[in-house]
Symmetry: C2
Subunit: 194 residues, 2 copies
Amino acid sequence: MSKSEQTRDYILQKSFDLIYQKGYQSTSIDDIIATTHVTKGAFFYHFKNKEEMGLGLIGELLYPNLRNMMVRPLEDSQDPKTDIYKMMEMLLNDTSFFNVDYGCPAINLIEEMSAVSTTFKRELSKLVLLWHNAIVTALNSAQSSGLIKTNIAPEEVAVMLISGYGGVRTLGKVMGRGAYKAYLSGLKSYLMQL
Amino acid sequence: MSKSEQTRDYILQKSFDLIYQKGYQSTSIDDIIATTHVTKGAFFYHFKNKEEMGLGLIGELLYPNLRNMMVRPLEDSQDPKTDIYKMMEMLLNDTSFFNVDYGCPAINLIEEMSAVSTTFKRELSKLVLLWHNAIVTALNSAQSSGLIKTNIAPEEVAVMLISGYGGVRTLGKVMGRGAYKAYLSGLKSYLMQL
DNA sequence: GACATAAGATACTAGTTAGTATGTTTTACA
DNA sequence: TGTAAAACATACTAACTAGTATCTTATGTC
């Protein structure tokens, strides 16, 4: 990786951290250059404007992380019920990447930006759809192999799961990790009965 | 209601609308005085600062609305399963107060403000707890009267329901009303099996 | 090692932000 | 109906905002 690529990635990573904590609109470019010690000239050399940086963040940080943590674990799953639970547990208990007080970076951006910028909305909806499809595919195959009742609708269950995840991230912000614990417990019962 | 009270309420109501659409931090006082045609002097006569207005909003608009739409329908409920479903349906289908693109005002504020202001976080957590307790109470009484299995934990179900609601509001922002429809359908099945 | 260009640094701008200082006008009530 | 206080209006400030113009320095290539 060239020196130039390094600073670009560095800016993206630090911006991500700031935005995760304070929100996109409340994170100023001056904030970013202050914490990175990268100058304004450097910032605007690598990004045309703030939006391009924000979209870069989604494409180059959020997207690959989502694939790794939320899509890949479901690919070719032999036991979706268990794997979905394990995935949720992993996501909610991962304190290296996530923080209860700050919630989920992707959910935060959806909340803040989708009504304000159609470009952000479009890119973020791609992420959601990716996860949605991964869940539906896993549930479908589980129905084929008789591991899940055939009278349930995978699309509905996917929406229930994604909503549950997003919602408990929000809930965690005001109620703390206890919300995660209760959710995971409730999720287990919910998955059982599918 | 005196003239003075009227302008105060008017400011709060219009601020609420703006904040619902753009977020709290992105709604400037200049935005507010521009749309209300109330002058800056009037604004700062009624509110010490922006935060006091924001908190007023929570206490005087969000709180009573939450009581009416999310707590009262569960009080003395003879059939919580049905009443919870009806409440969710009412909330998600009410287009006079809510808008898919803007989600739920309370959820939005939690998302945006709880990590940024402990005062907002505290006030908002009260709202959540109020709803949580109303749900738990309803589920408890349903267990007593044999309408719900006794091996389920009302606290967990409450977290599942609140998370589901909050999450589908987020999901709706990027996926549209289809998310609401799928959620309500999934919710019905979920409640059945309790 | 010259030189073109990539990468980064500095100083600025025009507009916006919350909040204040200092006025003027209503309103309630004696 | 006079007057004190409540309610509102106007003009300003200091700090911050995204972005630009213009410069300097580093880097790879022949």
